[in-house]
């Protein structure tokens, strides 16, 4: 018993933490699971059967991927000790690029060419994202500008391009297969959820199983030490911002599909929420720590709160307030434990 870490032996939540020992090694994840179960029980009691109905669960699965993919884009830069404020504007500019090609070239085409234009459109969106990502990565890694300033600049510039090109107008009327990505289901599972899974798994593998991923965590902990250990930190940072940007483009595709339109200023309120989601999921805002599993748990928690509040007819703004409160509460747990004498 004496070798056990403190969080398993001391404190009011020790019993619960011990119960979850077999499930996950991560302390943050165990706390998040406890929080999630508690929320589900409370909302289940308040709302009743409707909370567990197929319609509710499915609507949660429809809403989660947008914020989910954007949070992934934010998360990998946070892990590297940086930040990407340009994700929303990147998503919107890429969506506009895709929507522009799709609305101008797809309607007249047929057969292979019809499919071809849609693929070209998506590739063009990804290419735009790649340019933005490389610009971010270059300025941060090779010029040594702090990530928050760099991406504040690119965020404003990219949004400026989107507004300048569209004059603030909405592009709408996308082809069927694209709309399906946002609104269709495969065997009852929303397509957007499948896209999220397809995107999240390689990112998880990249972070957990590849040299680039390992280097990303190391850079987040101590960039100088990583550089002196012989790793080309600049190239890794460049890659991190490139991947972040590409993820933002995919989020843009999902958003565009769901709304069946694209605009320069969609989803702007998500920007700070992605940081909230990542940090709630155990990502250290100073860099070096954070796992995809934690992020997904935190996304589910945020979505459960949002959907339950919706069923309870509470305002979506109350949801925002509760999200903020939960973030502070979860971040405060280690400190409160220390004060009570249950140091981790």
């Amino acid at each position: 018993m004496s070798n056990e870490p403190a969080y398993l032996t001391k404190g009011p939540d020790a019993v619960l933490m011990r119960l979850l020992k077999g499930l996950t090694h991560d302390v943050t994840n165990r706390r998040l699971i406890i929080l999630l179960v508690a929320l589900v029980v409370v909302f289940g009691l308040l709302i009743g059967e409707r909370f567990f109905s197929q319609a509710t669960v499915q609507s949660m699965a429809f809403q989660l991927p947008e914020l989910g993919i954007l949070s992934l884009a934010m998360m990998i830069t946070l892990v590297s000790g940086g930040l990407n404020l340009a994700i929303i504007s990147t998503a919107n500019l890429c969506a506009l690029t895709m929507a522009y090609i799709m609305t101008t070239h797809v309607p007249g085409a047929e057969g292979f060419i019809w499919v071809g234009w849609q693929i070209i459109a998506i590739c063009a969106g990804l290419a735009v994202a790649a340019v933005i990502g490389l610009l971010n990565g270059f300025v941060i890694a090779y010029l040594g500008v702090s990530p928050i300033l760099t991406t504040l600049g690119t965020m404003t510039m990219v949004k400026g391009i989107a507004i300048g090109m569209t004059r603030g107008n909405v592009l709408s009327g996308l082809p069927e297969p694209i709309v399906f990505i946002g609104n269709g289901t495969v065997y009852g599972i929303p397509t957007a959820m499948i896209v999220f899974a397809i995107v999240a798994i390689p990112v998880a593998i990249m972070l957990g199983r590849t040299p680039t991923g390992a280097a990303t965590y190391m850079i987040g902990s101590n960039e100088k030490a990583t550089r002196y250990s012989g790793i080309d930190t600049k190239r890794v940072i460049l890659r991190v911002y490139l991947i972040s940007s590409l993820l933002a483009a995919i989020a843009g595709l999902v958003m565009m599909a769901r709304f069946n339109s694209a605009n320069a200023s969609y989803a702007e309120s998500y920007l700070l929420v992605t940081i909230l989601a990542a940090v709630l999921g155990g990502v250290d805002p100073m860099g070096g720590f954070g796992k995809i599993a934690g992020l997904i748990l935190s996304l589910i928690i945020l979505q459960v709160i949002s959907s339950a509040f919706n069923l309870l007819n509470f305002s979506q703004f109350l949801t925002l307030a509760i999200w903020g409160t939960i973030l502070v509460a979860v971040m405060a747990v280690p400190n409160i434990r220390r004060r009570l004498g249950f140091a981790d």
Binding site: L143, L152, G153, T156, G160, L276, F314, T325, L327, V328
Partner: protein
Amino acid sequence: MHDLFQRLKRRHEFWLASVIAVLVVYLSIATQGFLTLQNLFDLLTSYAFLGILAAGLLVVLISGGIDISFTATASIAQYITMLLANKYGLDWFSVFAIAIIVGLVLGAINAVLIDRLQISSIIVSIATLNIFYGLLVFVTGGKYIYSLPSWFGKGIYWFEYVDAEEISYGLNLQILALFVMFTITWLLLNRTNIGRQIYALGGNREAAQRLGFNVFRLNILVYCYMGLTAGVASLIQAQLAQSVAPTVLVGKELDVLAAVVLGGASLAGGVGTVLGTILGLALLAIMQNGLILIGVSSYWSQFFVGLVILLSVSATALSARRKRKGNLIE
């Protein structure tokens, strides 16, 4: 003379001022409307809101923290003050007192969370932004306040002056508040012991603590000052807009941050001057104003703002790197 230039060259403010000077000369020659008293007053009036907030954020950045909840603080201060003003009449002194008190209280909440729970300031302020803003819109239902007390709607004009074309201008509430807040911030940072402590805290927190500075008290002061500026800024914005909208201000926090960092303040803390912040703000204001005057569609103005931010921070980083290399050789 050569020495003076060498010394100036190292100052961030010198480069900013040079760019602004070039812009001003160009715009004065190229356009009719730029170098007029009216344009100057209009610019000062419309940028006073961002400017006052920038003064508050500068102090927070120098102390090594960051705050992005101030737009929500301003929205709440504005709403509560104008509700009370509509109900009880009130006067200039009491509306500012109420707005400032609301700002101080919300700022203190940030400071307590940051200092006592040891959570990083960016996370706390993201959380409190959502909490403050969410609760405000939830409680008010997002309803606008259109009718303000008539004395408030009229505003304040000193030294009113009507020119030949019957356009009147003068020292209005916005410009006055802007000057007062920048002066107070300058005095706080440069002429008080506390100001030196704030620089020291941002420069090296550990050292400041060991020197026996009361870090908690300094944090309270810094975030409360941010709240105070948010309270003042919120009222002059309401006076200019002639209405109170709970959803309009949130979202502008990064604009303010951009102005302050353009002015040379470092996010790492310990660095930043009031003059730099004024110049950063002036650059943004003059550029946006100039683009419109030379006939660039206003849809493109945001693009140029982003471009200037990116170029400016890159240039600063490059010159800082050159300086470091130079020091090694010396």
